[in-house]
């Protein structure tokens, strides 16, 4: 199926949308489409031929209603939608001044889409998590105000004028850089996802939380700007032959420390000051954080103040007590860092309520810490049959890729799943496959296929199959 074939023309969209908005007055579109055609579209998507059938179906249905006059007319006495016929406040009065809000904020109608804590997950909010509302996001970029938060000892507004980055250890010269210094260096801007190693960690044993905000919301994706780590280390004369490990240390109260594996991460790690075109937000490490593409979020040390080159890992608290994975035999996997290929359908997703049957653009996110997304398949029957989704461009390495797939819902119960494949050939596994190897007590790195059950009443819920 080519891209051209599956894109709806504006004409098609108007045909699809009209009945949906007027369901009380005109029957919903799926009533005009045969069950065979629904099955055909769900199996093969829309192409010219099938769109032709759709048009014909809608036209004859509308024509039939008008000709027969048996169905209630769309608008009594030739009137129409009050939203069109009546003048609205915003058409008849003066709008607001420029710079009424000198730093813009979302519409008041977006007030529900905010970061939220999961009740009972942690007992102190300074060492806790606030989840990104993935159920309301589009595309691939996370708005800065919605980037998930995870702090170990609270967050600060560090003074950028007194912030310093020290580079020491196995370097020719231990050096100090101010923000003035760092922001003069040659910078790169790259888009990467950041995912907490414990994302989806609540679901290892069973379904625990209702929505994608809580199952997958420790995930964000931004364009980061900063100086490549390699440039900084070479500038300081780092011994990169013997010094295979890097300690990154934060300036917060926890003095957050993580060991970075330079064998794996030297080439694409960034010492970043910017996210999405503005300076980092304080909750995300203003004025400096490490960006370690593909590696779990805990290693992206915030309020970064020190980098030390060394010849062995440090066994810091968050790599020897936490962020370790308990296996069935009682051993812990230590330094499990890579976020493996994963995907999730964000609309529709758990806790959502669909209004009606008919056409939906089912949409979600896919990402891999090992490279690019190669393909995403979607199942509507709990994993029995799969169809390939379309990937929206650009498809970037270690970044979120948006996928979409056409679906006509016939109103019967369904179980929606997505399954991503990355360019190493790795296929996102089922939760059963993961449990068979790692048991249920790992907490970290659950990249299982997510299942959303859609009931005939339109409500979507979180389920696990198998």
């Amino acid at each position: 199926m080519t891209k051209k074939q599956i894109e709806l023309s504006s004409q098609d969209v108007s045909f699809v949308e009209k009945p949906t908005n007027r369901a009380r007055l005109v029957k919903a579109p799926e009533h005009f489409v045969s069950q065979e055609l629904i099955a055909d579209i769900n199996a093969n998507g829309l192409d010219e031929n099938r769109r032709g059938f759709l048009r014909k179906g809608f036209l004859s249905a509308i024509g039939g209603a008008a000709a027969g006059l048996s169905a209630p007319m769309a608008f009594a006495a030739g009137e129409g939608d009050p939203a069109i016929l009546e003048k609205q406040e915003w058409q008849t009065t003066l709008g607001k001044n420029v710079a009424t809000m000198p730093y813009g904020v979302p519409s008041i109608y977006e007030a529900n889409l905010i970061r939220r804590e999961s009740p009972g997950l942690t007992r102190v909010s300074a060492a806790s998590v606030a989840f990104t509302p993935l159920q309301g996001l589009f595309g691939t970029i996370t708005p800065n105000g919605l980037h998930f938060e995870r702090h170990h000892q609270g967050w600060y507004n560090l003074n950028p004028e007194t912030h310093r980055l020290m580079v020491n250890g196995m370097v020719k010269n231990a050096r100090v850089f101010t923000m003035n210094d760092l922001m003069r260096l040659p910078s790169v801007s790259r888009t990467h996802f950041i995912e907490c190693g414990a994302n989806t960690g609540l679901e290892w044993g069973n379904v625990a939380v209702p929505t994608v905000q809580y199952t997958h919301g420790m995930l964000s994706c931004c364009e980061f700007t900063g100086v490549p780590l390699k440039v900084l280390l070479e500038e300081c004369g780092a011994d990169l032959k013997k010094g295979k490990f890097l300690l990154a240390e934060g300036g917060d109260g926890s003095g957050m420390t993580r060991t970075i594996n330079l064998d794996s991460c030297l080439e694409d790690t960034i010492v970043a000051w910017s996210m999405n075109g503005e300076m980092l937000r304080p909750e995300n490490g203003f004025p400096l954080r490490l960006v370690v593409p593909g590696v779990q979020g805990v290693s992206w040390v915030k309020w970064l103040r020190r980098l030390e080159v060394g010849d062995m890992p440090w066994n810091a608290k968050d790599e020897a007590v936490h962020y370790i994975e308990l296996m069935p035999d009682g051993t812990h996997r230590q330094y499990a860092s890579i976020q493996e290929c994963k995907s999730v359908i964000t609309t529709p997703s758990g806790g959502q309520q669909l209004l009606d049957k008919g056409f939906y653009n089912v949409s979600g996110m896919a990402w891999s810490g090992r490279g690019k997304i190669r393909r995403v398949d979607v199942s509507f029957d709990g994993g029995n049959n799969w169809r390939q989704a379309r990937l929206e461009t650009p498809v970037l390495t270690k970044s979120i890729t948006r996928f979409n797939i056409d679906w006509v819902w016939d109103g019967s119960p369904a179980i929606l799943q997505s399954r991503a494949v990355d360019d190493t050939g790795y296929i996102q596994p089922s939760i059963k496959t993961l449990r068979n190897v790692r048991g249920t007590r790992s907490i970290y790195h659950n990249n299982a296929i997510q299942s959303w059950k859609l009931d005939s009443n339109g409500e979507v819920s979180n389920v696990q199959v198998g």
């Binding site: 529900n112 440090w314 007590v321």
Partner: protein
């Protein structure tokens, strides 16, 4: 490019020689051939102040010592309120102690990690290296006053924790000279593995999914769902989704809807419900209702300034009623020929608040 780079580097050196008297600048160019003028060498005191990490081989560990007894005193004063008298508390953080045995000290493997009998993993069950305890306590504890402990206090606290876990005896004094011997007794010292596919991007993953496309499962079995009693455990999901568009949130304060709501979203909350949340108050109204498009605090714009209006109507009886009518119906001629458009969208209460606020001079 190469030549240019070289000459810039030479220029940098030349400048450095010229300005050698300027210490800051001289430091700034030390070791920096590629980016002259960027960064400077750290002083030994600066490195010592920040480089406080302690590695598993005890590189970075300061000299010092502390006894279990001293540790207990500090613990009860500074640590017990969060972690419990014996480090057992689960109230605020996960427990520090518990779940380890004398046998674990011998084997270096915590048996309770495999037998699933321990309800929760404690720090001592997990931590393989004593350096980790030392580093983190010194670096980040107490929770609300990090970096306030001395090295000796840190030795004492580590000794106290290990004594509760029966890794060291009650009369033990931990120091930089015997800490390696203690490492050889850590209960979970042999409990970690790095043999997995997640430390290097080139490593091989431990599992892989299936590429099956059709007829992949004979019977789809739902293994787990959210129990009914947890329906609103995360609050009302309707309030966590858009109140418009195709994907609303289910109202989890109520049982699931009996049938599809239909395109009009019958029975669901709608976007207009949030509109009432716009900020109120006279100053906010003045801005949000765009009074400020024509009226400024002190300067005449299209209309008169707030100060001029307040001065004109000062101490006049009936001024509030008169201006409320003007705001509602509009008017012209008092301040010039440009008419003020009627502001009929305002409620009486909002109009009154605005007029009184203007008459007060915007205070």
């Amino acid at each position: 490019m190469y030549k240019l780079g070289k000459s810039i580097a030479r220029l940098g050196l030349f400048s450095a020689a010229l300005l050698a008297a300027n210490l800051a600048y001289a430091q700034g160019t030390q070791g920096s051939a590629k980016f002259p003028g960027v960064g400077r060498n750290a002083t030994p005191a600066e490195v010592a102040a920040w480089d406080i990490d302690v590695r598993p081989d005890f590189k970075g560990l300061p000299k010092g010592s502390g006894s279990v007894e001293q540790g207990q005193t500090i613990w009860e004063a500074k640590c017990a309120s969060c972690h419990g008298i014996f480090g057992e508390s689960n109230e605020i953080f996960t427990p520090i102690t518990g779940g380890t045995t004398k046998d674990d000290v011998k084997t270096g493997r915590v048996a309770s990690l495999a037998d699933m009998k321990q309800p929760q993993r404690t720090t001592l069950m997990k931590v393989p290296t004593v350096s980790t305890l030392w580093d983190y306590i010194y670096r980040a504890m107490p929770w609300n006053a990090p970096r306030s402990l001395t090295p000796d206090e840190t030795y004492a606290l580590v000794a106290f924790i290990l004594s509760i876990g029966e890794v060291v005896p009650d009369d033990f004094v931990l120091s930089n000279t015997n800490i390696a011997e203690v490492q050889a007794k850590m209960p979970n010292r042999n409990g970690m593995t790095r043999k997995h596919g997640f430390w290097n991007v080139k490593d091989k993953p431990d599992v892989n999914g299936s590429a099956c496309m059709n007829n992949c499962v004979a019977f789809v079995q739902i293994g787990s769902t959210l129990p009914d009693f947890a329906r609103d455990a995360h609050g009302n999901i309707a309030d966590q989704n858009r109140l418009y568009g195709p994907y609303r949130g289910a109202d989890t304060t109520k049982p699931p809807v009996a049938k599809l709501p239909g395109a009009a979203g019958e029975g669901l909350a709608h976007a207009k419900d949030t509109h009432a949340n716009a900020p109120k108050g006279a100053a906010a109204l003045f801005k949000n209702e765009n009074c400020s498009a024509c009226h400024a605090p002190n300067a005449k714009l299209v209309g008169p300034s707030i100060a001029d209006i307040a001065a004109k109507y000062k101490d006049q009886s009936g001024a509030v009623d008169k201006l409320m009518a003007k705001v509602k119906n509009g008017g012209a001629g008092v301040w010039g020929s440009i008419p003020m458009p009627p502001q009929s969208q305002l409620s009486d209460a909002d109009r009154k608040a605005l007029v009184e606020w203007v008459l007060s001079g915007g205070k």
